[in-house]
Symmetry: D2
């Protein structure tokens, strides 16, 4: 089966994802973001957790925190130690209802860890467990803020950015920007990040 | 240390990443993209490989190919089998010089696997090994296409999207759009993707 | 600090682990093992799950099932699909109380997956959820079966095979032996396994 | 297909693996083991690397070093930083010829990292790159030391412990014993290890 015009859908999908991403900055809550940065800067150690593609975004964030010379661990990886007082758990879940992530946050909370939720749903189980929730627009938010968008259109839109695609792209964009902010706050130069970048890869 | 105005840098970084991403669609080579989609559609099985954050993007892509019901594996994961004739290896590396990725492509090529490189550098070791290279703009390309951007400005820009940040965000955006194109070509509905989404997570 | 006689403790620890392992064959329940092999042979697909070092043993087992050409997936890895009727989940947990593993088994059971527990504790949450439990001797069992071993001695023993060490070594030995049994039942030759062994590593 | 007597092969395989493991202690070179323990005790940080099932054994070892409160990282995981002077890389490969592991050791050596090889082959590429090699008996060694074992018998033996099974079981047994030795040298109690064991799993 030869593809003709695969480029067309690729371009359309890219534009739709970009439309969503371009709307993200104005939807962020300034105080939530400032709080997140303060929490990260004052954390003894940061642990991240997420499942599926949200878990990959959580890892991408953790890698940059390591480059920034922060003490950071990924739940489920080999050398992740026990939680202690003063630790922060950043949990990434668009729905805020991912079973093992909510369960992880519950366990962490029991031992006194501060939970930060990165999610689209302020009333989700994860957001309710969290001390701080950063609300990132996922698919529903786009629909919600666009009064003229009909159900059918949303349906079609959805099909080009299936499942959690918009949330995941948003979370990567947002967390990379938080990294930039931390770089400035901590006075780290890119050269310092590069110096900590894995040697073997 | 209390953070003040962390939001400002976060917003600035987000805008800079978005500026980059918004320029991606027009920089893509139509034929390269159509070829990639044809290669994926006619592949017996698809293997993906990448290191660091590029590796996370490669995994995010692989997960969607699984949702699309394609036969896909991640190099280095537990149940990844041997390569066979007709297999395709998608290798993601911004620089195209990541040691273990270039070495992986070399090994794959020796056994007759078709290599597809996702990279910013057409003359990189990886691109040279590959049968097909998809060139995605990373940091250098931005600088290159913006005649008015001064060296100093680039330097500052760079510091808010350090190391491979722009390439990685571009690769996620691009590969998610390729997924959309594959959905359309294969006639897969979002509900079918959801039905294959991991049950335990 | 120069080490003197490190070899002595290493040898002592090795002998103690071996003492435990040598007692494993007679402690196995024939019917449990035959049932496990039948379940694996008749499974549509096998999923494995485990946390920490038990999770590593589960992965080592999954890799061999792949070499045997069985359809197998590791919970939490990138391309692991949804559970379907006829699937089997092999859950490895010495205590049978590892939170996320018990929760995973609960989710799997809800969608009709057959659970097999590899554990030391027949009354654990995991064993109770499971349709079949294979009981493997961990530390407690050793103590229990050795009437002459004093509490103090057990304490010292324990310190040279800390935490789940004995269970994990037992689980690897046992599951590798199950692999041998499956090879014979399926008539697979080692050369066939080698042919499926990952090309890139 | 109903299994009858699956237990028989399982028991036979278990006994054969145990025969191999019981021969390990006397085949170890005291000086090699003492040197390894000294290297680990004086390392600034320990990095481990391995592919396939050897990689899983390397991770099982790294997890225990973390429990012992040593600074340890796994090559390829998210938060693994750059190598620095004084770091040690423990590379696990039965054949000593696993491509990406040899390449990793080469890269590490270039930046001045001390390489320790855990392998069966003293003349392998990995052993030659390493400053210290710990020789562990794998399949060939068993054959070699048993003068009465015929080629045909070895072939049958091999089929019940396919590919690297004997080396991997040996490496887990050996490295767990090294952990015991480190516990004694460092004066760590099991309770201290338990206190560092991952909270979320």
């Amino acid at each position: 089966m030869l593809n003709r015009g695969g480029m067309k859908e690729t371009q359309r999908a890219m534009k739709e994802i970009l439309d969503h991403l371009n709307g993200v900055p104005e939807k962020l809550n300034d105080k939530q973001v400032d709080d997140l940065i303060n929490i990260l800067l004052s954390a003894k150690r940061v642990f991240v957790v997420g499942a599926g593609r949200s878990g990959l975004v959580a890892k991408a964030f953790a890698m940059r925190l390591m480059h920034l010379n922060m003490d950071v661990y990924v739940i489920g990886e080999t050398i992740t130690p026990s939680l202690q007082e003063g630790d922060v758990l950043v949990a990434v879940s668009g729905s805020g209802e991912t079973d093992l992530i909510v369960e992880s946050a519950r366990i962490a909370k029991k031992v006194g860890t501060k939970i930060v939720a990165i999610t689209s749903y302020p009333k989700s189980s994860l957001a309710k467990l969290a001390r701080h929730a950063i609300l990132l627009p996922g698919r529903r938010e786009v629909a919600f803020t666009s009064a003229f968008m009909k159900r059918e259109l949303i349906g079609e839109y959805a099909s080009l950015a299936p499942l959690g695609t918009l949330f995941e792209a948003t979370a990567l964009l947002f967390l990379d920007s938080v990294v930039a902010s931390l770089m400035v706050k901590l006075g780290r130069k890119e050269e310092e990040l590069r110096a900590r970048h894995a040697t073997i890869e």
